[in-house]
């Protein structure tokens, strides 16, 4: 069973919900009243149709948030046909380097995302590769020197704050970066059994990132020197996380809850770039990068660093609030006291 689903399954059992795992389709179902709710990996029944499809389409999301006055990166999107028919410099007119290129839809965990692209040739090479698998590409301006956060919003509340960092290694004055990566991967393989952690895989962005620091894989960093390996912060690309629990400036909560509401998502993982999440947004720079309708909950529930935030119970409680009588009835009829409850009802 997927790690997120296992957490949902265990929490649902603890809450006494009628939960069933459908092994042949890898779905979890919770029956409340006459309603069936399904969970699959990180997908929950809390969000509704069209808002999901808007969140899946990064360009639509960017334009809707922009129209509602939220700060978003300046972006363009184009199809494979547009790319064939027009010059790339025309397509990205109005954008300033450095840029980020990513698939417009159906991408997860930072796959095929290239950050900090500094010239049109690098951009063109990356798009050539992406276009093999994706029909629409999004290019947006890259915001450097800020912190990146994943903020989990549920209705009018922030229930989890995680700071995300690009992949890095720490020098010991003896080993080369390549050796340090190999060493780190051995530890990561052990940790990945219980935590959301991925191996460090050297790709184009890793090489660019090192080159910008005048380093190669053979360079030997000094003892304690931290070497950044990647600009993309996703855990799927070797990124690391630090959970701040629910610590966030109250004004920022207001802004982010309003953004979630604007998209129509009840529950969303907003990727935000800002100076500091504990400084008010109205006095600092910030942008919303993405809205994940199916955010990974393990980074909040079982982070490898920082405070654990109990988010799964809060999500399941939302379903219970929709069917309070069915839930109480189910608890009464299926708890160990059910025989006594039935006897009381029979005698009445």
């Amino acid at each position: 069973m997927d790690r997120n689903m296992r957490l949902f399954y265990q929490a649902a059992q603890q809450l006494g919900l009628m939960v069933k795992y459908h092994a042949d389709i890898a779905y979890l179902s919770i029956i409340l009243g006459k309603k069936n709710y399904y969970f699959h990996r990180t997908i929950t029944p809390l969000n509704k149709g069209a808002s999901i499809f808007i969140a899946k389409n990064k360009y639509k999301l960017n334009k809707i948030l922009e129209a509602s006055g939220f700060p978003v990166p300046k972006a363009v999107a184009f199809t494979a046909n547009d790319y064939e028919e027009q010059s790339l410099s025309d397509l990205i007119q109005g954008l300033r380097f450095p840029l980020v290129a990513k698939p417009m839809t159906d991408s997860g965990r930072g796959t095929e995302v290239l950050c900090n692209i500094k010239n049109i040739n690098t951009l063109s090479d990356h798009i050539e590769r992406m276009i093999q698998n994706h029909s629409c590409i999004q290019v947006e301006e890259f915001h450097q020197h800020f912190k990146e956060y994943r903020i989990l919003v549920l209705k009018k509340r922030v229930i989890g704050v995680v700071e995300r960092f690009g992949a890095s290694v720490i020098g010991d004055g003896k080993h080369s970066i390549e050796e340090l990566i190999a060493k780190s991967n051995e530890q990561r393989a052990q940790l990945s059994l219980t935590l959301t952690i991925s191996p460090l895989i050297v790709d184009e962005e890793y090489m660019d990132c090192l080159a910008e620091q005048n380093l190669t894989l053979q360079s030997i960093p000094d003892l304690g020197e931290k070497i950044r390996l990647c600009y993309t912060v996703n855990t799927g690309r070797g990124g690391e996380i630090y959970s701040h629990g629910k610590q966030i400036h109250p004004l920022n909560v207001e802004y982010l809850c309003r953004a979630a509401k604007t998209i129509g998502l009840t529950y969303v993982g907003l990727d935000v770039i800002c100076e500091d999440i504990n400084l008010p947004f109205n006095q600092t720079n910030w942008v919303i990068i993405e809205a994940n309708f199916n955010p990974d909950l393990t980074i909040h529930e079982i982070p490898n660093r920082g405070k654990k935030a109990k988010v799964i119970n809060k999500l399941l409680l939302q379903l219970i609030y929709r069917h309070p009588f069915s839930y109480v009835y189910h608890l009464c009829m299926h708890s160990r006291w059910s025989i006594y409850i039935k006897m009381i009802f029979c005698s009445i």
Binding site: I25, H40, T44, A50, K63
Partner: protein, 339 residues
């Protein structure tokens, strides 16, 4: 503006809902109370995430329905890599020809669907071309001799029944099939789709020992496609809400099982007005984003104003916000008149 979006837009305007068309995102936005609702193509804000992804994956949906005892055609799903590594005869050994192939995910309007495949060679050729665009293909047994229906259910209640027929032309004893198709496409109604001359059309004619240059006798109906999708030139005959009550109950149980509040169920049966318990029937698909144009503008039959019923659900959720919005419109009109 997409045809379905434009129907929802007009309906929302008639209901005096606060509707905005967002051009840059090509979607409708209805802010009501503190909530924001969106309509993207045929996707509405009524279905839950988990159920959406369950219905999007045809194989998972079939498995869930079969486990619950509902009839689905025998099927298998093949990944592109498996197709090139293993023998197709082995992969399809439990299936009986004729077969139908379709993408397992992200498909609509019958794109990349090929029906009535009769030989292993034909199956292999079709799969090879479809795997260029789709990583997973589903192979199902093709059910012949049954009628195909699209049943629209909202909150487990049937609000539209459409019989879908494959595209055809009627011979006049003078024109070739190709000329009849061209004539038909020139004369077609505003909301209809042209008949396509594609590989499936040629195959369908070949199965009847015909080709595009044959001249059918006067009054003879020539079938041109196996797929009934309107986008392929198929015809939609609306029956309004006419469905056998027992069948409506069974379909309502299906939507409850999948957890979809608004769904277009595609099914094959002898007649939708004969009880399923006494006839042969199969569920083909559950469309999480069903088109409303097929019910509102059918080629024949009763026009059903389903978009209104769908949008009314938003008003039921926010009656006070809707009431306040109507009052504000009334006030603004009053101010304009005073001015």
């Amino acid at each position: 503006m997409n045809k379905n979006i434009s129907i929802y837009f007009e309906s929302a305007l008639r209901l005096k809902l606060p509707v905005i068309y967002i051009n840059t995102a090509n979607c409708l936005h209805i802010p009501l109370g503190k909530a924001h609702y969106y309509f993207v193509d045929t996707i509405t804000p009524f279905n839950d995430g988990g159920s959406i992804f369950l219905a999007k994956n045809k194989s998972n949906l079939n498995q869930l329905l079969r486990n619950a005892g509902f009839p689905v055609s025998n099927w298998t799903t093949i990944h592109k890599d498996t197709f090139y590594k293993q023998s197709l005869a082995e992969l399809t050994q439990n299936l009986r020809f004729p077969l139908v192939i379709k993408p397992q995910l992200n498909t609509h309007s019958g794109i990349d669907v090929v029906c009535n495949i009769k030989t292993l060679q034909q199956l292999s050729d079709c799969l090879e071309s479809k795997f260029k665009r789709n990583p997973f293909m589903q192979i199902e047994e093709f059910q012949e001799g049954l009628k195909e229906y699209r049943i629209l259910l909202l909150k487990n209640r049937v609000i539209g029944v459409v019989e879908r027929r494959e595209s055809c032309v009627i011979g006049d004893g003078q024109h070739t099939i190709e000329q009849l198709i061209i004539n038909n496409n020139q004369k077609m109604a505003k909301n209809s789709y042209p008949i396509l001359i594609n590989a499936e059309c040629q195959q369908c004619l070949m199965d009847q020992n015909l080709n595009l240059n044959c001249i059918p006798v006067k009054g003879k109906t020539i079938r041109l496609q196996y797929a009934v999708n309107r986008a392929h030139g198929g015809r939609a005959i609306s029956l309004g809400k006419k469905i056998h009550s027992q069948n409506a109950k069974i379909l309502s149980n299906i939507t409850r099982l999948i957890g979809l509040d608004l769904v277009g169920l595609d099914l094959l049966c002898e007649d939708i007005n004969k009880p399923f318990s006494q006839t042969k029937w199969f569920i083909i698909e559950a469309n999480l984003g069903p088109g409303v144009s097929i019910h509102e503008y059918p080629d024949e039959g009763i026009k059903m104003n389903v978009s209104k019923k769908i949008l009314m659900q938003l008003i039921y959720r926010h009656p006070f916000a809707y009431f306040l919005h109507r009052i504000s419109i009334f006030r603004n009109m009053g101010k304009k008149c005073d001015g």
